[in-house]
């Protein structure tokens, strides 16, 4: 019998390393394609530098950016999976280990005690967990470290419901224009609509996990995603904010029901380094690494 908690810890530590050192294939391909298609020399040189850097990271197995992010895990636990709270304990241990082994930059700062030096907060909230209970006997883990520069340009607004979808689009345009060159574009944009003031941001972050160019199953939502992608690129932010090349690689949205009086909109922006990696572990401890 395998020690399932140990399997989770080992797997999650490795997922953090994959996320820090290798971009998902679609992101990598899109950045290479963007370099080819960008006509201006300024934008082309920025994208070339990004792609060269991504290549060094993968071949030398080193973090692609010195900001290895604040760690979050999206976890789905099946009813018949043998562990519950021990999953959380194993993920905290994995975070500490990956900080040493990858290495990750220590990015968990306590307001009173300073940097914890291991990416784990002393008050129990970091790494951040998004737990979900599902049917079955498996446990899915997705590691998503997110850099500070692009997190700083995230935005949330409670817009008047009377403004409707047009109001949602307006706010997304305003958020991206305000981000401008600050968060290392080209960006990938996650938009969460509805839920509440907290839920919309969670949904927006979750939307970033969907592979690039895979649009929402609901055709109405898919249409808005594609429209926003087109509109946001008209902002001409460009690679690194210098006005040339793509501003936004893709836009994904998630919707929840809203309160009749509220229309919460969350915008979570990722820098070019859209980092995440996942695996599913079954009840016997067999690991199925997700395509990356």
């Amino acid at each position: 019998m395998k020690d399932i908690a140990q399997v989770i810890e080992d797997t999650a530590a490795h997922l953090l390393k994959i996320a820090a050192t290798e971009l998902p294939t679609k992101v990598k391909e899109t950045l290479l394609k963007s370099e080819k298609e960008t006509e201006g020399a300024l934008g082309k040189s920025q994208l070339h530098a990004i792609n060269e850097n991504v290549n060094i990271a993968e071949t030398q197995s080193k973090p692609m950016c010195q900001d290895t992010g604040l760690v979050a895990f999206f976890v789905k636990i099946g009813d018949k999976f043998p562990l519950r709270s021990e999953v959380k304990t194993a993920l905290v241990k994995a975070t500490k280990r990956a900080t040493q082994d990858t290495p990750l930059r220590p990015n968990a700062v306590d307001m009173f005690e300073g940097n914890t030096k291991n990416n784990v907060g002393i008050r129990g909230y970091v790494p951040w967990f998004y737990f979900d209970l599902v049917e079955g006997d498996k446990c899915e883990i997705i590691a998503m470290p997110k850099g500070g520069g692009s997190s700083n340009v995230g935005k949330m607004k409670m817009i008047p419901p009377g403004k409707g979808i047009k109001g949602v689009k307006e706010f997304v345009v305003e958020a991206l224009a305000a981000a401008g060159p600050l968060g290392c574009p080209p960006y990938t944009v996650g938009v969460g609509v509805g839920g509440g003031e907290d839920m919309c941001m969670n949904l927006a972050k979750k939307a970033l996990l969907r592979p690039l160019f895979e649009y929402h199953k609901d055709e109405n939502i898919a249409q808005i995603e594609k429209e926003l992608l087109k509109i946001l690129n008209k902002l001409e932010i460009g690679a690194m904010g210098l006005g040339e090349g793509p501003s936004v690689l893709d836009v994904h949205m998630e919707f929840a029901a809203r309160h009749p009086a509220s229309l919460p909109v969350g915008v979570v922006i990722s820098c070019w380094a859209l980092r995440h990696a996942g695996a599913t572990i079954d009840k016997d401890g067999n690991i199925d690494w997700h395509p990356h």
Partner: protein, 198 residues
């Protein structure tokens, strides 16, 4: 246009450069973030000299990840640029006091720095944000470190010998040009157009 510069960079070389040009720098580059800027300026006020002569060299807004090798020698793991906007509040005074040749960072800088660059002959080179390994690859030697105990690894002065460090996109030149400010104005104008059409 592409320029290959060697430190100390002669002011006449800097004057030939315009916003949008690409620069590759060889020679000495020193890292300095918020605290190192403050400390150097405080020392100057007291009539003391900082341990590094900044004149004509590259000043890098960067908090690197460093480690010691088996021979106890410092090596660079990752050294990408940090957001330069934080240094805007004292960069002009730093330029007037210490006369660096090329500031290196990301995200661009504002009007105060632009003015100081014009008056004191200095440029700002934009290194691709996040490209930490590309930067590390161009650093050939860690020559020295100062204030490590006092300020810690990200904030202290790391003295690097670099070769063809770049590409740096010049976004502030010696003629008062500022490419990121131009880009921001364009984004604002486009935003207004888009919102009208929605």
């Amino acid at each position: 246009m592409e320029h290959h510069l060697t430190t100390p960079i002669p002011p006449e070389d800097l004057k030939k450069i315009k916003i949008g040009d690409t620069v590759y720098l060889s020679g000495t580059v020193v890292t300095a973030r918020d605290e190192a800027h403050l400390k150097a300026l405080e020392m100057h006020e007291k009539g003391e000299k900082p341990p590094v002569d900044f004149e004509g060299i590259g000043l890098f807004h960067c908090g690197p990840v460093m480690k010691k090798d088996e021979n106890d020698k410092w090596t660079v793991v990752a050294a990408g640029p940090t957001t330069s906007a934080r240094m805007e509040i004292f960069q002009d005074e730093f330029i007037k006091t210490f006369h660096p040749g090329c500031i290196i960072g990301k995200g661009g800088m504002g009007l105060r720095t632009t003015n100081a660059c014009q008056e004191e002959i200095c440029i700002y080179g934009y290194f691709t944000g996040g490209a930490a390994l590309l930067a590390a690859d161009r650093i050939k030697e860690v020559k020295d470190v100062f204030w490590l105990e006092d300020l810690g690894m990200p904030e202290c002065l790391w003295v690097y010998e670099v070769e063809n460090f770049g590409p740096l996109t010049v976004t502030i030149d010696t003629h008062g040009g500022n490419l990121t400010e131009d880009s921001k104005k364009n984004i604002e104008a486009k935003k207004v157009e888009i919102l009208k059409e929605l």
